[in-house]
């Protein structure tokens, strides 16, 4: 049986990992390479990297005391390359993806999947163009939405409300050929009060492709609630993974012990594999 996925989301701003609250307040967390090494060691199911930098110029990893190959990057793809080398699980990269060439470049640097957001709103046909070229399994559409007066409004570039309804927009993305939908509830961003269960329940019934829920996870119980109350099988979270020590392992253990359909939580030891002929 297909396992439920627990997916850490890493938000990068000018190359540094940050924490986000309501899409407004950001605080700096640290260097992405150390995090990926840590997450890989903890046997993460999958990792999503979102580049939310304001500009496309210089990327600095912030600290140079962490024994990384280089701490100054000209381009985001250099971070992809470095991150990919250290990872043994699938990685999705997103943020300012606006051309087929860019997708090609990111994939060649080691990305497994690509997340498209603003460009899909500007030009929905870009979704089918990308899915036809790289396969649906490679293309995730990421959707930010705001709950307001009983409506779920799709938000463009994290700030601008559109006239798109969440459910209709997600269905359209599916019809255009994307392989997965990452839905992020802005109201819940950084609040640690749980996922937007009500909306996810409806969305799940409307879509035939896998849904990844994001926004609001603050404890193990929120993952449990999501898997219990909805048919969504992939739970993503960002801030939680930076603030709870060994978060990925602890969340998995909590769910695994309660007989949820989760990969067995364990630590990764390369020597056991090497000695296994």
């Amino acid at each position: 049986m297909l396992k439920n996925r627990i997916i850490p989301v890493i938000l990068l701003r000018e190359g540094v990992i940050i924490q986000s609250f309501n899409f407004k307040d950001y605080s700096r967390i640290g260097n992405p390479i150390n995090i990926i090494r840590r997450l890989s060691k903890w046997m993460s199911d999958e990792i999503i990297y979102l580049n939310i930098s304001k500009h496309d110029k210089k990327f600095s990893l912030g600290r140079s005391d962490l024994n990384v190959e280089s701490s100054e990057f000209e381009k985001f793809e250099e971070i992809i390359e470095l991150v990919s080398k250290h990872s043994l699980c699938p990685i999705t990269f997103g943020g300012s993806i606006n051309s087929i060439e860019k997708i090609n470049l990111y994939l060649s640097k080691g990305a497994d999947k690509i997340s498209i957001n603003s460009k899909a709103i500007e030009d929905p046909n870009f979704i089918s163009e990308a899915a036809n070229k790289f396969g649906s399994q490679c293309i995730t559409v990421s959707v930010d939405y705001l709950k307001e007066n009983g409506k779920n409004i799709v938000v463009y570039k994290g700030i601008k409300k559109t006239d798109l309804d969440l459910f209709e927009w997600c269905k359209k993305c599916e019809d255009l050929g994307c392989g997965e939908i990452l839905v992020n509830c802005i109201n819940n961003d950084g609040k640690k009060n749980g996922y937007d269960i009500e909306t996810l329940k409806i969305l799940e019934k409307k879509l035939d492709i896998p849904i990844i829920a994001l926004g609001g996870a603050g404890s193990e119980k929120h993952f449990e609630e999501l898997f219990n109350k909805t048919g969504v099988k992939a739970a993503a979270a960002a801030n939680l993974f930076h603030h709870l020590e060994q978060a990925d392992f602890k969340i998995k253990k909590y769910l695994f012990d309660r007989k949820y359909n989760i990969r067995k939580p364990e630590f990764f030891d390369i020597n056991i594999i090497k000695n296994n002929k």
Binding site: M1, M43, L88, C89, S136, Q137, L207, I273, N276
Partner: protein, 200 residues
């Protein structure tokens, strides 16, 4: 032992190389005849559609040469994802297309009532221990919408359940194929790659 990851323009060759690096196994990414000839083990990656992969393979690699390496010299070869699928006789993604025909069978849309693509970690039930030695149920990372339907059950080493039971590890003599991504499947994936590379 030396591994060549066949670089024909499809598949994330760097991820496979990274996984082999972590295992401490030397590998090269190449489409060069000499380098393929000098390698003891071959890996055939692949992503995207069946047709796209087989067309790229034909365009970039001399198939007569490759078949000599695989079918005559019987070098161990591992197909991953679409690299496994194109080992079938035929594929039905975007029309009917001929495959390599190394493992009897065909590739068609995954016949399930569950969500597609089938994406995430799933358990594999081992039916033969040719490439995975453990008796425990390993889990691997999948991302695909099409399935390999083997003609002969003797060519099936493992199946997975997703609305139905389908073939995910196939083998025919020195030829192996896996529907999932061992290079992205951490412990269980590395074990499988290690076992493959230890095949004589």
């Amino acid at each position: 032992m030396s591994v060549c990851i066949i670089d024909y323009g499809s598949g994330n060759v760097n991820s496979i190389k990274s996984a082999l690096d972590i295992l401490g196994k030397k590998s090269i990414i190449s489409k060069n005849k000499k380098e393929i000839e000098l390698s003891s083990h071959l890996i055939l990656p692949g992503v995207g559609s069946f047709n796209n992969a087989i067309s790229l393979l034909k365009k970039n690699i001399d198939l007569n040469f490759l078949e000599n390496e695989v079918l005559t010299k019987q070098k161990p070869i591992l197909g991953i994802c679409v690299g496994m699928q194109i080992m079938a006789n035929k594929g039905y993604e975007f029309g009917e297309h001929l495959g390599l025909g190394w493992v009897p069978g065909y590739v068609d849309k995954l016949d399930t009532n569950l969500r597609l693509p089938h994406v995430g970690w799933n358990e594999v039930k081992l039916t033969q221990n040719r490439i995975v030695s453990e008796s425990e149920k390993p889990s691997y990372y999948f991302t695909h919408s099409f399935e390999f339907i083997a003609k002969d059950r003797d060519n099936v080493c493992g199946t997975t359940s997703y609305g139905k039971e389908f073939d995910v590890i196939i083998s025919n003599k020195n030829i192996y194929g896996v529907q999932f991504h061992p290079e992205k499947s951490q412990k269980d994936g590395l074990k499988l790659l290690n076992k493959f590379l230890n095949l004589k």
